[in-house]
């Protein structure tokens, strides 16, 4: 993969895949114009990628979700996070045995979640958006793979029991169902679950189809409960309920197995709104830049050196096995199974030792930031430090 060079490119190009491999970068013309306009508007010495990313992040957070300005900011940030997403995907796939999904699919699934990542990340906190996003992307891909695997193992009726109400609702909406119809299907699903959970502890996946008697019970319950709906509709016969739930299965499967290739295409291609909309509002630009200026870049680099020293000190107090374990896991990127084999200890011991070591290191850094930088260690702050911890550990020189 070619490294992107200039800052305009970073915020306006997207990875292209051909036959599961990266084939290059594609430029979104509209985003390119918008990025150029913004970069021209700011002083030369402030065009670091971090400042520009923070600018668009804050800008995005100030816009209402459906506006075209919001779509532009999102486009810039999705472009910016392409590499983070690619490498997260690459690493998760490398660490997970037996994956049948191509990297490009996993990549598309993760990059589609950029809005959620942007919402959860506070631009004021110390970790960079890239680091934070890498961490979030890894979790998203792991969850996606886990879900896919489970879905493949489920019978249709078992799938219904593995759904959350939220997913079902999303699937029905994606299939174009009206709200009132959707509410009726959701109730039918709830009745199905109340009546028809398996009678064996390990029987969720391979749940067989309900028999006539079960459908009757489901229908009876539905007809009793439907009065609570805002549009109660007609009584449902056992046949109707069966048809509805079979439909839920169908919609869910196609919702959870989307045709993936279209996800990374920048939305603004199809957006016909005037370019004028996405041009930067200068008053606002200055305001946001004023905030960003308050955070001194040189300070940040200085802090990074100090954090390394603190980590090194803390690790030096660990026993030699634990030190070796950290090196294998973070610097040489062994999987836990590989470490267990290498060190001749059970995998759960590896896991437990890693957790404890991580907790101690997180404690040491948080304590330092509390004492030196006077940062109150709230959950959001410590979460942010925790996402950085893995990056710092991976970048530590092998002692």
């Amino acid at each position: 993969m070619r490294q992107r060079q200039d800052i305009t490119e970073l915020f306006s190009t997207f990875l292209q895949f051909e036959a599961e491999r990266v084939s290059g970068w594609a430029t979104d013309a509209r985003l390119r114009r918008s990025a150029e306009t913004y970069i021209k508007s700011i002083q030369q010495n402030k065009t670091s990628e971090w400042l520009v990313a923070t600018y668009w992040h804050r800008y995005w957070q100030q816009q209402s979700a459906s506006s075209s300005k919001s779509a532009t900011a999102l486009g810039h940030l999705s472009a910016y996070l392409q590499e983070s997403c690619y490498w997260s995907t690459y690493n998760v796939i490398r660490q997970t045995p037996g994956i049948r999904h191509p990297l490009s699919d996993c990549f598309q699934v993760a990059i589609a979640e950029v809005p959620k990542v942007l919402r959860a990340k506070d631009p004021q906190h110390p970790s960079s958006l890239k680091t934070y996003a890498s961490y979030a992307f890894s979790n998203i891909i792991r969850d996606f793979l886990r879900q896919r695997r489970e879905l493949d193992l489920c019978s249709d009726w078992g799938l219904l029991l593995k759904l959350s109400r939220k997913r079902l609702k999303e699937a029905l909406a994606a299939a174009g169902m009206s709200e009132s119809e959707s509410a009726q299907r959701q109730l039918a699903w709830q009745c199905f679950e109340t009546v028809y959970l398996p009678t064996k502890a390990s029987g969720l996946r391979r749940l067989a189809a309900p028999d006539r008697q079960a459908w009757e019970a489901i229908a009876t319950l539905y007809n009793r409960q439907r009065q609570q709906l805002s549009v109660p509709g007609e009584d449902g016969s056992p046949e109707t309920l069966e048809r509805w739930l079979a439909q839920c299965v169908k919609y869910t499967r196609s919702y959870l197995y989307p045709s993936i290739d279209s996800l990374n295409r920048s939305r603004s291609d199809e957006d016909n709104s005037e370019l004028q909309d996405s041009l930067v509002d200068h008053a606002q630009t200055n305001l946001i830049n004023d905030w960003i200026e308050q955070e001194e870049i040189s300070d940040r680099q200085n802090q990074y050196q100090q954090i390394r020293a603190i980590l090194a000190d803390a690790i030096a107090t660990f026993d030699p096995t634990l030190q070796q374990l950290l090196i294998l896991y973070y610097q040489r990127q062994y999987t836990q199974q590989q470490i267990a084999k290498e060190l001749g200890i059970p995998q759960y011991t590896v896991s437990r030792k890693l957790t404890k070591a991580r907790e101690k290191l997180l404690l040491a850094i948080t304590q330092w930031s509390q004492e030196t930088l006077h940062i109150t260690p709230t959950a959001t702050v410590v979460k942010d430090i925790a996402t950085l911890l893995d990056e710092w550990l991976a970048a530590m020189p092998e002692a």
Binding site: N139, K166, E193, T194, Q336, T378, A386
Partner: protein, 392 residues
């Protein structure tokens, strides 16, 4: 235990799975059976892990699996609520409103637990606080849940232990409003109605439902009624029968619990000579906030078909003090207050004024804890801990 990056995964031992399954069979429908099954697995795995690794004082606190999903674990005045789920969806944490808006149920921390019985695996994939769920989450009225999206949760549990250590005063709970108590007659009526309802928690308005759940006795009766199909009458202690020496479940002879030297002082304001030979004293042990307290009822026959009754609350260990802000009250069966006593700083016992009661009359003794709301000084919240119903 397995670390999947930073999330915790546990294998479920076959015997844990089997025991949880067996225990869940008494629940009333397949939904509540599964709720009980998943929560029992969760409790069997999470509690020993918490005790061993982080919270040696942790105890299982509250569960109402017949009615609501979720399990509470208490440790040192903080509550940890675990919400197990069998679905594959980890895009958000869904918490039933009961765990958020009932003051005595609400927790400090909430954990998203995914259980896959087919794989025999349990995964704690994230946590958050009451405060975050309230302020950043969304409320879904269709199933009365609070929801918070995965990226806003904390998936690295190490964060929790570090924050607790370095920032012990972190605000974890949003202020809560007290729920208005439901009159006894209405509570009984609703008990009948909810016994056969498939989804009782969504059947009546939350303000009513939440308030009813607060009372342990009502919740136990509903649970039992749903599981046996019969509404049990309110557990009524027939105290006049004590005079015939009959024994009631849960009530012991005072002498069996309290050392005889202490007996003389056990009903403090009563000179020993005044306690007639016929007086009968029974005691019930209560566990309140991890402390054992004794509710002592002394009765003596009076002329004209009446009984003299004294009611006292004290600690089992004489060296301990009663928790502050406990309110012991005598009430009519309709719930109107007749008299009450409140504990203060370093009280080892409190006693209601002795009263006389005609044989056959019913009354209620209630113990509640009052806690002042830190943010709004003049508002107090109260939580009913114990309700005991008596017939003379």
């Amino acid at each position: 235990m397995m670390l999947s990056h930073t999330q915790l995964e546990f294998d479920i031992a076959p015997e844990v799975l089997e025991a949880a399954w067996q225990q869940s069979r008494v629940y009333s429908n397949s939904r509540s059976q599964w709720t009980a099954f998943l929560n029992q697995i969760c409790l069997s795995i999470v509690l020993p892990w918490l005790q061993a690794e982080h919270l040696p004082q942790a105890v299982s606190d509250l569960q109402a699996w017949e009615l609501v999903n979720g399990t509470a674990i208490q440790s040192d005045r903080q509550r940890f609520i675990f919400i197990p789920d069998k679905s594959i969806d980890t895009s958000q944490l869904t918490v039933p409103q009961e765990w958020m808006d009932i003051p005595s149920w609400a927790g400090n921390y909430y954990f998203a637990v995914q259980i896959n019985p087919d794989e025999q695996q349990l995964r704690i994939w994230a946590y958050t606080t009451h405060e975050q769920l309230k302020n950043q989450g969304s409320y879904d009225p269709s199933d009365r849940t609070y929801n918070l999206e995965a990226p806003s949760l904390v998936s690295d549990l190490n964060v929790l232990w570090v924050v607790r250590q370095l920032n012990p005063h972190e605000v974890t709970q949003s202020p809560l409003s007290p729920l208005t108590p439901v009159p006894a007659a209405q509570a009984d009526h609703l008990l009948q109605r909810l016994t056969s309802a498939p989804l009782p928690r969504l059947e009546i308005p939350f303000s009513l439902w939440g308030s009813l759940l607060t009372a342990d006795s009502w919740r136990d009766r509903l649970t039992q009624a749903r599981q046996t199909g019969e509404v049990a009458p309110r557990r009524l202690t027939q105290i006049s029968q004590w005079l015939q020496n009959s024994v009631m479940e849960g009530w012991q002879l005072l002498e069996s619990l309290v050392n005889p030297d202490e007996l003389a002082t056990s009903l403090r304001q009563t000179p020993v000579s005044e306690v007639s030979r016929e007086a009968v004293r029974r005691v019930k042990r209560l566990t309140i906030r991890q402390q054992t307290l004794l509710l002592i009822v002394a009765i003596a026959p009076e002329p004209d078909e009446k009984v003299n009754i004294r009611i006292q609350l004290r600690t089992e260990e004489r060296t301990e003090d009663l928790p502050e802000n406990l309110l012991l009250s005598l009430q009519s069966t309709a719930g109107s207050m007749i008299q009450s006593m409140q504990t203060g700083d370093r009280y080892s016992s409190i006693q209601l004024r002795p009263f006389k009661c005609r044989i056959g009359t019913q009354f209620k003794v209630q113990l509640e804890e009052q806690s002042s709301n830190l943010l709004e000084d003049d508002e107090t919240q109260s939580e009913v801990l114990i309700e005991e119903w008596f017939q003379c």
